[in-house]
Symmetry: C2
Subunit: 127 residues, 2 copies
């Protein structure tokens, strides 16, 4: 067999994530749950967050490692889901978006970044 089973820990972790809008790190989830679940381990939190993210139940929010770019003016990027390559995109920056974000949130918005994803021209032919 090769099925997924119910696990109390996974449920706890998922529920914790649903109850909040803080976009927590694995560490944060762990510290929230630990007091009520003293034998929960950080490894389990990581394992389940990855499992949930891989199956699409939750969402990851970062590149795995830091990348750098000498073009400092804001411009969109494309990140290939398959090979991980990052490309620049020649598309106009829309300052109107920042104004909309301010209206929607009240935060003092100084800019934004757009990152597209999918399959890049090199990976497309390879499925």
């Amino acid at each position: 067999m090769n099925g997924k089973r119910y696990s109390r820990q996974r449920e706890l972790i998922y529920e914790a994530l649903r109850q909040t809008d803080e976009h927590p790190t694995a560490e944060m989830v762990y510290h929230w749950l630990k007091p009520e679940n003293p034998n929960l381990s950080l490894g389990t939190v990581y394992r389940n967050l990855n499992l949930l993210a891989d199956e699409g139940t939750i969402r990851r929010m970062a590149f795995p490692v830091e990348r750098y770019d000498a073009r400092t003016e804001p411009h969109p990027h494309f990140c290939c889901d398959r090979c991980g390559c990052v490309y620049d995109l020649e598309m106009p920056y829309d300052p109107e978006l920042d104004r909309q974000a301010l209206l929607a949130s009240g935060h003092d918005v100084t800019g934004h970044a757009v990152t597209f994803h999918g399959l890049c021209v090199k990976c497309k032919p390879l499925h």
Copy 2:
């Protein structure tokens, strides 16, 4: 005194970044430069990339650590420059952008993420 001085390593690192559009990691920059500069150290690459990014000469491209979100439908985020908090924004997803990105790049675009930044409502009053 407390000034910044010229350094050959910093120049090499910055030039390497300008010559490419690969959005390299620190490791990649290190491996490109190492053959011609056998005593370059990875620590120096990190130090200079951080220095250049802090002064705005280059640009970082990731959150420092991975964050997770139980809302899986695409929606924009706001990340506060000061406290690091991440907020959801209630703004419509624009599929038209994906079509524009395809036209501009030729990549097979399956979606995009928008991340705003600035000062959040809590940090704004604190300067």
